[in-house]
Amino acid sequence: MLLNELQIIERLTRDNETRISIKPLIDLKSQLGPSSIDVRLGTEFKVIRRQEYTHLNPLRKLDEIKPDVKRYAEEVLTKFDPRDGGFVLHPGEFALGSTLEYICLPNDLAARLEGRSSWSRIGLMVHVTGGFIDPGFHGTITFELCNLGKVPLQLYVGLRVAQLAFYETLESLKPYPEKMYTKYFGQAGTMASRFYEDYEFDILRKLATKD
């Protein structure tokens, strides 16, 4: 069941572990929609340094690929100051960002990150299929930003570029922190992908080195 505005408020004000926590919740009045709550753009971005790599090979050794991925993404820090110029996302460019808000979901709620129509209309995508948030998740939500428009977009910290919708489920018996190979629990800021930690790659790495 998708929560409506009243149910969202009720969840935000509970005093037990079934509470939704969104911090900071700067202005509920402007952030609350009929069945969603807007979230804001945070200060950290990661852009891909395309010029430095031909490809990422996840079958390399873990201790080799990890720094590789780290180098692959250039960190850009912005601040809440329009004079600073914000973060410019060029047409066709892909970047990671994160919500300003740190979100804690209870074990009986899943959430979906969705774009806001106003931003979508000028070509801004806020996620590239990774918009589902598991029950029990704690942390900032990662934006997979992409500019599909024809002109560069200047993005500023604090803008409401996306929204979260909440879905009530039966209480999960294996919420996100208990999920096998949890990678992003408790993240605060923009974290690069850790796709190479998937266990399948361990097997593939083993097979690749076998004579």
């Binding site: 408020i9 005093d15 926590s21 900071p24 919740l25 509920l28 740190y102 910290v157 604090g158």
Partner: protein, 452 residues
């Protein structure tokens, strides 16, 4: 470089193997080590200076092994600290914002604050900008008549609990602007005025503790613990332990030492006393300490009337936030507890009424329902947390973890991971608070009418 890195690697391994040597005091030092070891491959080896203060383990062999590594690191320190004086990056704005909030209205008109990072372990205040720093900070031509540049040890840039030390540096600027130490100085009889600079230091400490409360004492205690000789004094600076004594006394006078806060402050103070042992220096000065401290406290109260003071209410809020931190919950904004309960009640009632109402009735009562919903939304206003509470909550939380001795945190890497996470949450909280405040402060900007 490779040799030093290799030595540090051995040093980390060594610490992991003998984690038992980490007594409570040493646990706190790990905070510094964490940063050091994280950064050691990134040209900041000079930070190694601080590990000189690690208490020696009991067995001689272990002691030797550590010492040789430390000496190597200390040597690197000397080499590198000469090569780079100014930071390459602009200072992190959130620290600046934190100070703005911590010292509301007390900075004289026209003054501006800047923050710079130092590659050595030092905190300092400078009344003016050098040409070089102006360039680094991208300083604008419309310069205000006066600047205060605060320097933060770069190693602490991601450790908000230690930002508290900047309050002392801020105190230097305020003390000068408000002529506080001159007043204390004049009130002393001439024969007692030995080492006048000491008064400056005590005054600035007094300002800092009044604004930040226990967070300042805890940060200061940690620095005292790390110092090679906390009983050492010079013409410019009184001994660290003496300053700590005044801070403790002042906190007592402020009446904020109760419950968990008292336990934490006493705990840190006790650690320092244990470290000093019986090595107290002979009193070769003629101050009547109690009288001097009282005089300083009184003068600061008189001169900085508009300054924010740490209060009993702040203490309670910090303890509450520390509980949230221990549950891994962010603490950048909060809804008053009573209001939260009342909103929840109203929302539940409205939800119940909506469910019970038939379709026909619902149409008739739609206006009423909307009105009730609007009332609930209007009532839901989250306040941004005071960054000072965040700093204090950080110290309470840290102490809780040390005392708890979580068996899962036995290895150094677990401990590092935990520190990294809590520091990030604290830092993000302060950052979010500053954005929250700015958005709210500028809410008067013309806006479209809301649909709600």
């Amino acid at each position: 470089m490779a040799l030093v890195l290799e030595r540090f690697f051995r040093f980390t391994t060594y610490l992991e193997e003998v984690s038992l040597i980490c007594s409570d005091a040493e646990r706190q030092l790990v905070n510094f080590l964490t940063e050091l070891l994280n950064q050691v491959d990134e040209r900041y080896i000079n930070r190694a200076r601080r590990i000189l203060s690690i208490p020696k383990p009991s067995e001689a062999e272990e002691s030797d092994a550590i010492e040789s590594l430390i000496l190597a690191a200390a040597h690197m320190d000397t080499l590198l600290s000469e090569t780079e004086v100014f930071p390459r990056q602009r200072p992190p704005l959130e620290v600046y914002d934190f100070l703005e909030k911590a010292f509301p209205e007390v900075l004289p008109n026209g003054w501006q604050l800047a923050l710079a990072l130092l590659p050595i372990y030092n905190f300092a205040a400078d009344p003016d900008l050098t040409e070089r720093l102006k360039k680094r900070l991208g300083w604008m031509p419309e310069q205000p008549p006066k600047h205060v540049v605060l320097y933060l040890a770069e190693i602490e840039r991601n450790n908000p609990t230690m930002w508290a030390l900047l309050a002392h540096e801020m105190g230097h600027a305020l003390g000068e602007a408000k002529e506080i130490w001159q007043t204390v100085y004049v009130s002393q009889t001439p024969q007692k005025v030995e080492r006048p600079y000491w008064i400056t230091e005590f005054v600035t400490d007094n300002i800092a503790i009044k604004v930040l409360g226990p967070a300042y004492l805890c940060a200061f205690a940690l620095v005292t613990l790390l110092d090679d000789n906390p009983t050492h004094y010079s013409d410019s600076h009184p001994a660290l332990y003496k300053r700590l004594e005044m801070l403790k006394q002042e906190l007592d006078l402020m009446g904020v030492l109760e419950g968990r806060t008292k336990e934490v402050v006493d705990g840190y103070y006790q650690l320092v006393l244990e470290r000093i042992g019986d090595k107290l220096p002979d009193a070769d000065w003629k101050y009547n300490w109690d009288d001097l401290f009282r005089r300083i406290g009184k003068t600061v109260n008189m001169k900085i009337k508009r300054g924010r003071k740490f209060s009993e209410q702040d203490r309670k809020r910090s303890e509450f936030l520390a509980d949230l931190l221990q549950k891994g919950t962010p603490i950048s904004s909060f809804l008053d507890e009573k209001r939260c309960r009342s909103i929840n009640e109203k929302a539940k009632q409205l939800l119940g009424d909506l469910k019970e109402t038939t379709t026909v009735n619902r149409q008739n009562r739609l206006g009423e329902f909307k009105g009730r919903l609007n009332e609930i939304i209007d009532d839901f206003v989250e306040e941004s947390t005071d960054p000072i509470w965040v700093l204090n909550a950080g110290w309470l939380d840290r102490w809780g973890k040390i005392k708890e001795r979580d068996p899962g945190l036995e290895s150094l890497s677990d401990w590092q991971e935990w520190l990294r996470k809590t520091d990030t949450i604290l830092k993000k909280s302060v950052e979010a608070i500053s954005i929250h405040e700015k958005l709210r402060r500028n809410k008067d900007a013309p806006q479209r009418a809301s649909n709600y």
